[in-house]
Symmetry: C2
Subunit: 180 residues, 2 copies
């Protein structure tokens, strides 16, 4: 950040009065430009005991598999964001169910929130950010080609809990220098 | 937002190529300025079956009671943020336990994440953003003076679950025009 988005003046890095963190501050208009972690929302869509995965068409991790997920937008709920991302990336309509995984991805300044979900009609396709989208039996999931550690965590917990017939929340913090 | 924080040029509102949302975009350097919901993290600190509440010294809702909570910062986990806010607002050290409430506060463009917690040594005091801090028996909680709907939701679920001897996750979305 170089310039104040409000008045256009050059910003400075300093600790505002009453604060304890270094922020970008505008010395002209006084605006403090806070920077905070972003929410990523996604889901594990099920259909006939299979799970829907997307092979990424974009960086990071192009060519690797993931669940439908992306940045939460303003004016939507977490669940609405997860459903929207599923439509965008997998062209699939889902019923969003329980929130079951929350992952601190500290090095990326993100928090990932994942839901269970159910395909509404079994239809899906590759959205603009996906090379391909497919349903996998649990035994056929390409574990060595999963894009992100948070997605691996979510898929593992999802399958464990489904096998055990339980629904519960799993939380974890990824290593600060981990792979996202 | 009026100016590009990267190059200082005047920004425009438009839908970037490949996107489906209207964003602030810089026509000079091309930077897209995304705006996304913020995370608020907090906890319900317990001590001898009482809960710790703070009376707010700042707007919004000055003079009303809340649990220790505030905006998550970069480079911390959700739990670390909740503990930090408790130190700042209630001058109390806590052990953060289960995440038990996640609230979509859509109209404020926030997601509130609350944890159970335990005071480590029973000590607390009013931080700079609090008029006073006090322990309450459940029957003495000032329900008519609770600052935010998300805090009321969290306190109600916390007490219900404690009475029932269960630990579980509660999620809700506040009405889009509700009181936060």
């Amino acid at each position: 950040m170089n310039f104040c988005s409000a008045c256009g003046h050059t910003v400075e890095l300093r600790i505002p009065a009453g604060d304890s963190f270094t922020r970008y501050v505008c010395p002209s208009c006084g605006k403090v430009h806070y920077q905070n972690p972003l929410l990523v929302v996604g889901c594990v869509p099920e259909w006939n005991d299979q799970v829907l995965l997307c092979r990424r068409a974009i960086e990071p991790r192009r060519g690797y598999w993931t669940i439908p997920a992306g940045f939460m937008e303003n004016d939507e709920t977490l669940a609405e964001g997860a459903a929207r991302e599923t439509m965008e990336e997998a062209m699939a309509r889902v019923e969003i169910q329980d929130m079951f995984a929350v992952v601190d991805v500290v090095h990326a300044r993100q928090v990932h929130v994942m839901f269970r979900a159910r395909l509404l009609d079994g239809r899906f396709g590759a959205g603009a950010e996906s090379l391909e989208v497919a349903l996998f039996d649990p035994g056929d999931i390409p574990w060595d080609e999963i894009a992100f550690l948070s997605v691996r965590f979510a898929l593992e917990k999802f399958l464990e809990d489904r096998a055990a017939g339980v629904v519960r929340l799993h939380t974890t913090a990824l290593e600060r220098r981990g792979g996202g």
